[in-house]
């Protein structure tokens, strides 16, 4: 004990004695956890590219408090256990100032307690089912209260009152379906049926028959992963698209519009905070930088890339205005509102550790892409804001869900 204190004071003495010498090599380290292999790499690879691009931009603009940002990245292999393992490695061994990454909600829930325990800020950058309230976890993705509300209102006008929900059988799907029910009640819609799909399912004949029996005006479809993507193909081929509308909060987030045939993709309506076709000045700059770094864009840029870019930018902005990259100092800035111009448009951090977003309602075209129907400006995560205020109560660490 005595020796270690002695060693520490010696170290401090040395480092304060020669500040100029160290400055040249000083960096601030951030950690990245991305699924570069396994079934979630369709998201993870772009998240990783977006993070590195953002860090490059930050460094070009002078770094964070005069220090260059250095990335330490681990491939989490689409495996939740790796998230726990590498989050610990990043904090204990690499001593990073902040962590970024994660795709599946289960992977976020693997990192969140590690971040909380070690009081290190963690940015999660994907659309999700909403409700997480934790001082050390900041969520840059869009939530159901930002997507579903506006979309269901629009669908009621466009298609009618009767809705059918098709969702995957895990927390994202079941909580999202719960949200559909909540909004249905609010807007006077009738939920005529629900089906929850096992993640491995790819033959949807039974579901399609159930849909036809309940005769909805439109379907809220939330399939996840490459196998469930065939739902859109089969829905269209069964002739249902001609008489039943189809809307989704996650269609496009994994480039499903590229995978399904042009016929099946045409007319599917989706809502998110970012699509590559979004027409903002900052998005054209973002895409230009992307092409300069990685060459011509072959797979469309997904919302998770925008969300990751925003996470890095928010962190750098907050750390610069705090004058420190200490987690608590950064969080303090974020809770009090950091505003940025981002590829999706204006974003602002909120006391619920979520973002105010621009939300785009888009429709699939016949060429594997989207047309923007409407833009909803400055959409607040109403639900998260109503249950979570980390300025008032910073000790909360849980995920709220409707009815809980």
């Amino acid at each position: 004990m005595k020796t270690s204190i002695k060693a520490l004071t010696t170290a401090i003495a040395i480092s304060s004695a020669v500040p100029g010498m160290l400055l040249a090599e000083d960096t601030v380290k951030i950690g990245a956890l991305h699924d570069l292999t396994g079934s979630f790499n369709i998201y993870g690879i772009q998240q990783s590219e977006a993070l590195k691009l953002a860090v490059k931009k930050v460094n070009e603009d002078g770094g964070v408090n005069g220090e260059k940002v250095e990335v330490i990245e681990y491939d989490t292999q689409s495996d939740d256990a790796r998230y726990t393992q590498y989050a610990n490695t990043l904090i204990i061994r690499d001593q990073v100032a902040a962590m970024f990454g994660g795709l599946a909600s289960s992977s976020r829930e693997a990192v969140r307690p590690v971040a909380h325990q070690n009081e290190t800020i963690y940015f999660y950058s994907a659309l999700y089912e909403g409700g997480v309230c934790d001082k050390y976890t900041f969520l840059t993705g869009v939530t159901p209260s930002q997507q579903l509300g506006v979309m269901l209102k629009w669908a009621k006008e466009e298609y009618g009152d009767k809705v059918y929900v098709v969702a995957p059988d895990y927390n994202f799907g079941t909580i999202s379906a719960h949200w559909v029910n909540e909004y249905a009640e609010e807007y006077g819609l009738e939920v005529v049926g629900e089906d929850f799909l096992p993640v491995s399912q790819s033959d949807f004949s039974s579901t399609l028959q159930q849909i036809q029996t309940s005769e909805p005006d439109f379907v809220v479809a939330l399939p996840v992963g490459s196998r469930q993507t065939s739902f859109y193909e089969q829905f269209s081929a069964a002739g249902l698209k001609d008489r039943i509308g189809i809307i989704s909060t996650n269609y496009g987030s994994g480039n499903q519009q590229v995978v399904v045939s042009a016929n099946a993709g045409e007319g599917i309506v989706a809502s998110q905070n970012y699509f590559q076709v979004v027409d903002t000045e900052s998005n054209s700059e973002f895409l230009e930088m992307w092409e300069a770094e990685y060459g011509e864009i072959s797979d469309p840029i997904i919302s998770e890339a925008n969300d990751t870019w925003n996470a890095v930018m928010l962190w750098a902005e907050a750390a610069n205005s705090a004058g420190s990259s200490e987690s608590d100092a950064v969080i303090d800035q974020l809770l009090n509102g950091v505003e940025l111009d981002s590829p999706e448009g204006k974003i602002k951090s909120l006391p619920s550790n979520h973002l105010m977003h621009q939300v785009y309602l888009v429709e699939g075209d016949s060429n594997h892409s989207f047309n923007v129907i409407t833009k909803y400006e400055d959409v607040m995560p109403e639900y998260e804001q109503s249950v979570c205020n980390l300025l008032e109560d910073p000790s909360v660490s849980r995920q709220f869900s409707p009815g809980s």
């Binding site: 790499n41 929850f196 033959d203 193909e233 002739g239 995978v259 042009a262 594997h368």
Partner: protein
């Protein structure tokens, strides 16, 4: 007035019941198409090919790419069969033949082959590939419609199963291959070239997996993990089939797949899956040698 209303309701019920039958048949036929290759290799060689799902995936990509290159769909299916048959023969020659009679070693080896193929596909083809999509056209009963392609798959599955059955029952190769699995030493001593027969069988089973991939790719977009969706049920069907592998697997799929599909329609998809696995477990508990354990037949 009342009479008319009654009539309308009855005809609706009729449409619903008929359509349920059609939906169920289509689900069974998809499983059957995906299972045949696995059943042939297991039944004729005693090898469980854990890379079966990846073989299906590779077949799907062959059909996808050749269709996109302008080859007619039906010819592309032929290409898938031939390409995977050759691939299977090579795999058998290099790896499988050294592991005969060592069930766990073949399991491990084929699992490894599957992993290599899966990651290889991600590297080669990327994670997003545009599908060819289902041909237009629907079959309708009352207010219900389904893709006509699923109707075609029902017919194809019947023809395919009958062909495989006849090949193993009626041809000289079929008789020799059944002899080779029933009593390898006796078969060898009467001059049946068991090694050659095994290579042909593995190649044929692989070709069937490739054909399955080609047949399924319009409805199930080609992605590196597309095969995984079918194999767990295919494995269970093959294991519960028992010694009469083809007729056993068909029976299992009609029975278990049928009940599971119907419960999926009445309740939810998750319950449909639960029913499938529960019945399979019950069958194995009460018929440990498989459904065809006490049957007298050829295949």
């Amino acid at each position: 007035m009342i009479k008319g209303e009654n009539k309308k309701e009855q005809s609706m019920d009729f449409a619903q019941i008929t359509f349920t039958g059609l939906t169920t048949l289509s689900s069974i036929s998809i499983l059957l198409i995906a299972t045949l290759g696995l059943a042939v290799i297991f039944g004729m060689m005693g090898v469980i090919n854990l890379a079966h799902g990846e073989f299906i995936m590779l077949g799907a990509f062959v059909t996808l790419f050749s269709t996109q290159a302008g080859v007619p769909f039906v010819l592309s299916l032929g290409l898938s069969f031939v390409a995977l048959a050759i691939y299977g023969a090579v795999i058998e020659y290099i790896i499988i033949r050294h592991l005969y009679g060592r069930l766990f070693d073949t399991l491990l080896a084929t699992w490894g082959i599957g992993l290599v193929m899966y990651q290889g596909a991600i590297l080669l083809f990327g994670s997003y590939t545009s599908g060819i999509g289902l041909p237009a056209g629907t079959i309708g009963i009352g207010k219900y419609t389904m893709s006509s392609y699923f109707g075609i798959l029902i017919l194809v599955s019947v023809i395919l199963t009958a062909t495989v059955y006849l090949i193993f029952v009626k041809t000289k190769y079929g008789v020799m291959s059944r002899a080779a699995i029933q009593n390898p030493q006796m078969a060898g001593s009467i001059g049946i070239p068991t090694k050659k027969i095994n290579t042909i069988t593995f190649s044929f089973g692989s070709g069937l997996a490739g054909l399955a991939g080609g047949l399924l790719v319009p409805a199930f977009p080609a992605t590196p993990d597309m095969g995984v969706a079918f194999v767990s049920k295919a494995f269970l069907a093959v294991v519960t089939a028992g010694p009469m592998i083809i007729s056993g697997a068909v029976t299992t799929l009609i029975g278990v797949g049928g009940v599971s599909s119907i419960s999926g329609i009445i309740f939810t998809s998750v319950i449909g899956d639960v029913v499938f696995f529960t019945i399979t477990i019950l069958i194995l508990r009460f018929f440990p040698t498989g459904v065809s354990g006490g049957w007298h037949g050829k295949l």
